[in-house]
């Protein structure tokens, strides 16, 4: 979709990325930070999927019922890998957050910084 000559799909991705980044840098709660990171990740995936689209294209599955042009399969494969990587990073981060809470009793960065 074009608006004022700008590619709106791409710009939207940057907006989502920035919402995530803002959460990551400005929120004090570690879980909120992690949610922000996930929002950013999904935004980048959306960017990659969007870059592989083609006007009036079908999914790149060459069976009866689909016809050329097809969307590019490579960005989709990249995103699949990316999603799996993202969930791995999230799992490790959550395990760390649980540890921090068990030890300090808080997951607010503001309070963690004041501890000795």
């Amino acid at each position: 979709m074009l608006l004022f000559g700008l590619d709106l799909d791409y710009v939207l991705v940057v907006v989502l990325f920035c919402v995530g980044l803002y959460m990551l840098v400005s929120k004090s709660n570690l879980l909120k930070k992690l949610l922000g990171l996930n929002v950013m990740e999904t935004a980048v995936f959306a960017f990659i999927v969007t870059s592989g689209m083609i006007e009036g294209g079908d999914p790149p599955i060459l069976v009866a019922g689909t016809a050329a042009p097809y969307a590019s399969p490579i960005p989709q494969a990249m995103v699949l890998t990316g999603i799996v990587v993202a969930v791995s990073v999230t799992a490790v981060a959550l395990a760390l957050i649980v540890q921090i809470h068990a030890h300090f009793g808080t997951i607010e960065v503001d309070e963690l910084k004041e501890l000795p």
């Binding site: 939207l12 709660n29 949610l35 995936f45 079908d58 097809y70 993202a86 969930v87 959550l94």
Partner: protein
């Protein structure tokens, strides 16, 4: 038609992303985040990427949300102001 679908979905994406940032209740934030992922899934399905959509629905919206919920259960539900 397609433009209308796009416009609705894209505004929903922004709305959910901002709500995740604004929610003080972490449980609500996680549930809205899963809604954000599911919206993304629809967009991708619409854009000719069913494989990615299925993976995101199962892994991004499903597994990630469950892991977040477990963490909230073991830590805290409220974000301090």
């Amino acid at each position: 038609m397609s433009d209308v679908f796009d416009a609705v979905m894209l505004s929903l994406l922004i709305a959910t992303a901002v709500s995740v940032a604004r929610a003080r209740d972490l449980l609500a934030a996680v549930v809205i985040f899963s809604l954000y992922s599911l919206t993304m899934t629809l967009v991708w399905q619409h854009r000719g990427a069913p494989d990615v959509a299925m993976t995101e629905a199962a892994v991004g919206a499903g597994v990630t949300t469950v892991l977040f919920l477990i963490t909230i259960a073991r830590t805290t539900r409220r974000e301090k102001p």
